[in-house]
Amino acid sequence: MIALLDRLGVWALNYLSRLGRATSMWFTSVAHIPHGQDMHLVLNQLHHVGVRSVLIIVLSAFSIGAVIALQFHTQLSRFGAEDAVGLGLTLTLLRELGPVVTGLLFAGRAGSAITAEIGLMKTTEQLSSMEMMGVDPLYRIVAPRLWAGIISMPLLTIIFNVVGIFGGFIVAVQWLGSDPGGFWSGMQAGVELWNDIGKGLLKSLLFALVITWIAVFQGYDTEPTAEGVGLATTRTVVLSSVVVLAMDFFLTLIMYGDF
């Protein structure tokens, strides 16, 4: 019993100290707004983290938009309400699926890559040798990745939404023969700038903060072995996916809950 409490205590202390280190790392790095020669590091990371995620985002968005339109169409056409397909699809994407699915894909595609890369740098003593040269790896390695993630996630979400709506349009209008005028006008009348577009992008920004934070810290805190890097990469994907889904629930409650 005592031993159990003891183990629990050690675990809790370790957990708190990890959280503390992660938090202090985040603030130190983010406070370092890249400038001068660091700008090209951010651009470089925007390419790695952002541009390279575009393909997977576009493909997923198209099929998700198409599937949602198909489902809405079959249900709504029974009541002759096909014109609502455009609005239903758009709201679903803007408010929920856009930020959430982009977040999940981003965690799997970019988050894992960030963790693996930083973890490998640690394992091969690159971070150590940088420190010995009087260059802080938090500024040189961590900060550009944090900023690139924070900038690219909302942009990827916008791409996801646009492509998703396009996918839905193809299915509902081109394939199932809804009226294009009804599809667009329903959307135009129903979508609000802040309530739907703004809040959705705010969600994606918050997801970006959390995912990049997890990814960077897991890499930086890796046990410096091949096995350690593998475990850390898995943890990044699992942890950020779970956190994104949980956060989305609470954010939806706060943003759209009626109470």
Binding site: Q37, L120, M121, T124, E125, Q126, S128, S129, M130, E131, M132, M133, G134, V135, D136
Partner: protein
Amino acid sequence: MIEIKGLSFKRDSRFIFQNLEMTVAQGKITAILGPSGSGKTTLLRMIGGQLKPQYGFLKYKGKDIASMSRSELFGFRKNLGMLFQSSALFTDLNVFENVAFPLRRHTNLSRQAIRDLVLMKLNAVGLRGAASLEPSQLSGGMARRVALARAIALDPHLLLYDEPFTGQDPISMGILISLIKSLSGTLNATSLIVSHDVMETLTIADYVYVIFDGSVIGEGTPREILDSSSPKVQQFINGTRNGPVPFHLDAEDLEKQLMVVEKN
């Protein structure tokens, strides 16, 4: 230049150093010889301020390294060139950019000046022709020489070499030895070499420490070390198998351990 007094360092519950005493003289080449696992790399990390000793202190120009503030420490490190045992080249930069890295970070030199300096340093280690290669395209020995070029890019006052001779063929070994010598001569840099390559180390060092089991078991000029009467020191420099320094890490008797496996 560097003064180590009463230094003890523990990892988990095992002492790696106990009451270590050492001085590294300004402008000289000091060498530390010790068997694998004796804590040589650990000691260099303490000098660079990445690890802190539990007892005792390391002083650089009279200043305790462990109690330097973050900015003092980073300032100190700008004057420090360290060759890592694993080379530790940055994998996201090519050879040229690796050597240029400290120059770009710590100086305001023009592009042209940086280019010339980098090519000169690469030339000194015989790898000017490798400037545009990626680290993954280098052999282990080449990577070490690039890492050396990077370590000396800023002409540091203090040079720490962790196993500089491993993986070098006889020709590049000769070049390396004369390079390390001339660096300490022309720059008046203080050098600390950590190694288990006895003969190479003895040819260039001005002063040598032999460490074993957490403390110094012999010190002196290379001549004095070679003539040492201590059986431990003799065993280490001659590489004999049986003697006071065991080849095996402490363990159960081999026969006993094998018997146990058989019985199961």
